[in-house]
Amino acid sequence: MSIGTGVYTRVGRRHPRLPPVSFDLTRGVGPTAIALAMGIGFWELVGQSAGFRFFPPFSAVLMRLVEMILEGEIIPPLVGSLTNLGIGFSVSVVLGIGIGLLMGAYRRVEAALDVYVYALLTAPSLVFAPILFSIFGLGREPIVGLIIIYTIFIVIINTTSAVQTVPRPLIEMGRSYGGNDWQIFRRIILPSATPMIMAGLRLAGARAVEGMINGELFIAAVGLGAVIARAGNRFDATTVLAVLILTLLIAFIVVRVIKLIDMRLTSWLPATQRGQR
């Protein structure tokens, strides 16, 4: 019999799993499901009685969405939108993290750029759509450009902040063991900064979808936004709502995927800190 039996327990898991579904109505999935169900029910009722003008019932919207998918008419715009989203978001992530790291690490770079980053972050990004349009004309480029404008500044600011809030004692510890700049950066700063960078990416994900839709609404030529715009012009509320639901699904999936990558990369964080974000 060993003295240590039962005294030490595993403090955490390396790959945290999602919590089990509980049927306790006050916790977890329960209230969300009920709230959604009630909302949909309400929608259905009001829709049926108010007629189809601008408040079609949920069933009609759902049917229209299924119809669009099955008949394939939604597929080309969907693919177009997702491609724009993918390109725009990737460029933003790579450039944004890069610039953010530079700004976080070098005070001069930060001093030079921070005013402009902040100005472009707080300004309504759609206002640059006409400018992009005038430079690139119709097509994919202005939309990708707009998605970049929507997302890159959030990524930069969060990355800068992430680097700047790496605890000094950790860096000093690295120095005391003789680490050079590159080693400190790669082995201390980068891992420490990852949680906050990922938080920024989650925000950016939602903004990217918003930028994609807004850009496509403005240019009104390609993608899901164009479908919404055209449907809106002919007062087809059912199609508008159907595509909107599709957009919400995309946004939900994008944020979810980022969260999963986040959990993988930061599996060393204690569970309490994870829940807070």
Binding site: A35, R108, N214
Partner: protein, 278 residues
């Protein structure tokens, strides 16, 4: 990388500062660095406009002149008023409804349980896509623009107010109870003042979202005010004025946020960890 830069990474030692060049010391000034960046941007811009150009690409100096011209134009200021009217009314409505809703949700679990999923949906919905529906429902007037402003701004105000209530130190509530405070007193003396930092953050973000909404609906569907000016200038091939209006919008956004931040510091001087700004 100079010793000044590596101070970010180092423990604080470094070469002594005496004997560094004028250029090096000038580059330590924030103002100099920022102006330098501006100069670089202006240079690239001017080069692109002159070398490559295009019907809708104005020059840097052309834009600057157009901007100054706008400031003296009565029509312009009328457009500014038309736009901001919608924003101010919308923001007012947001504050009046969003804060109480957020506070109630933060304090009473049943309220939160029911509304949480809808708030989350609102946070990720591209509200601009609802514009056609809004127009269909209530037409093209001021009300439609106000409604969009509210839809853009209110989720953030609610979420931050809710977080504010939750973050109030529970021992403060207990302390008040130990002196015999009832729920009403706890609300007035503890919960509301305690949530103030978070509420102010929410208002700041909400203000920013209100400005965004103001511009978005004008660019997308109801071409009045500043958005309308942009659309018109594009149609009339006056890119200098177009860019000038864009610059104005960016500056207005900066101004409003700066005022909001200043107010935040004055009214709630005790610090708080904030929800990351959008």
């Amino acid at each position: 990388m100079s010793s000044a830069d590596s101070q970010r990474l180092a423990t604080g030692g470094g070469r002594p500062r005496a004997g560094r060049s004028l250029v090096s010391r000038a580059l330590d000034s924030k103002a100099v660095l920022r102006l330098l960046t501006l100069a670089v941007i202006a240079a690239i811009w001017q080069w692109y406009a002159l070398a490559i150009g295009g019907l809708l690409i104005p020059t840097f100096d052309g834009t600057v002149l157009a901007f100054i011209g706008l400031l003296f134009d009565a029509e312009f200021w009328r457009a500014v008023w038309v736009s901001n009217q919608a924003m101010l009314i919308g923001f007012g409505v947001t504050v009046a409804f969003g804060i109480p809703m957020g506070l109630l949700m933060g304090r009473y679990r049943p309220a939160e349980m029911f509304t949480d999923v809808y708030i989350n949906i609102m946070l990720v919905t591209p509200m601009a896509a609802l514009i056609p529906l809004i127009i269909m429902a209530i037409g093209f007037g001021l009300n439609a623009r106000v409604l969009l402003v509210v839809l853009f701004a209110i989720p953030m105000v609610i979420v931050n107010s809710r977080a504010g209530v939750r973050e109030v130190d529970p021992s403060l509530i207990e302390m008040a109870q130990s002196f015999g405070a009832r729920e009403r007193t706890i609300w007035w003396r503890i919960l509301v003042p305690g949530s103030m930092p978070a509420i102010m953050t929410g208002l700041r973000i909400g203000l920013s979202r209100s400005l965004t909404a103001m511009v978005v609906i004008e660019l997308l569907l109801i071409a009045v005010g500043l958005g309308g000016l942009i659309i018109n200038f594009r149609g009339a091939f006056e890119p200098e004025s177009l860019y000038a209006v864009v610059v104005f919008v960016v500056l207005e956004a900066l101004l409003l946020i700066t005022i909001a931040r200043w107010l935040e510091r004055r009214l709630v001087p005790w610090t708080r960890e904030g929800v990351l700004a959008k």
